[in-house]
Symmetry: D3
Subunit: 62 residues, 6 copies
């Protein structure tokens, strides 16, 4: 039942997402005491032009 | 004012989304006692390669 | 696997939430072609003082 | 640390998003008393065919 | 129709939220060209013990 | 900049959340190649009476 949502800049590969999903799921199972099939991990890739830090879109950051 | 967000795997047609939006809105209006114009339903299609269950990306599930 | 999030003003009863969860799940199963055990519905009650429309917190609306 | 998420219909330009990110960040810094580098603003463009109001997908609204 | 969600540490007053909602709504109306009644701003107060930065819960940060 | 949101049933202790935040942050840093200070992890505890599976509120599940 835990749902873990990961919002990050686009550009990560399928392999990185697969590894992250595995590592996060393992952590949730070990620490929060649930079973793997209950853990959902959902990735949202966000373009740098859709994410601002300090009031500037990230593709304008140095 | 209720905002209902539906996250599901991509692949549903426009007709399915229209029917779902109608059914969900009717349920919210009937049960939660609001008016239809107050109900927003937002769909997020998620690729199977962005959704893991049990630590595996869903397009790797059998 | 669909996750449906319902954000609405606090004040709905447990019975209303149970009925909404049932109606939304039935609609998702019928229309989006999945099985009931795959459908999660999550409710977030929001205080009117935490929800603004037209720039005014909702507990200040007439 | 505040994270501000803006969900709106697609179609706003990069310039509009940059201006919005700046205005929202300034407001958060001034009013909520934080520093600019702590403020994240994330935009999600939603197609009108993925957003229903009153039970109708928005691209069907008049 | 834009929905703006503000997640920040708990502790802001009602006056701060009212002022933020007003400022954000004005910015969205001016820049994204919509009408005020279409703009929803939703606040989620998060305890510092529910928000980690750098792998540490924020109430453990110096 | 990655923001990881964890929605799960209430009842996890502060120690469990601290351990989860650490494990998730380490995984994101290692796999997605960012720095720890960029990683935010936000927990939302959801009551079982606010989370339905298969159309039933979870506190009604066996």
């Amino acid at each position: 039942m835990p749902v873990v949502t990961v919002e990050m800049w686009e550009g990560r590969t399928r392999e990185q997402k697969a590894a992250l999903a595995k590592a996060i799921t393992d952590a949730v199972v070990d620490i929060a005491k649930t079973t793997p099939d209950q853990v959902h991990v959902v990735f949202y890739d966000v373009a740098r032009s859709d994410w601002a830090i300090g009031g500037k879109l990230a593709d304008d950051l140095g």
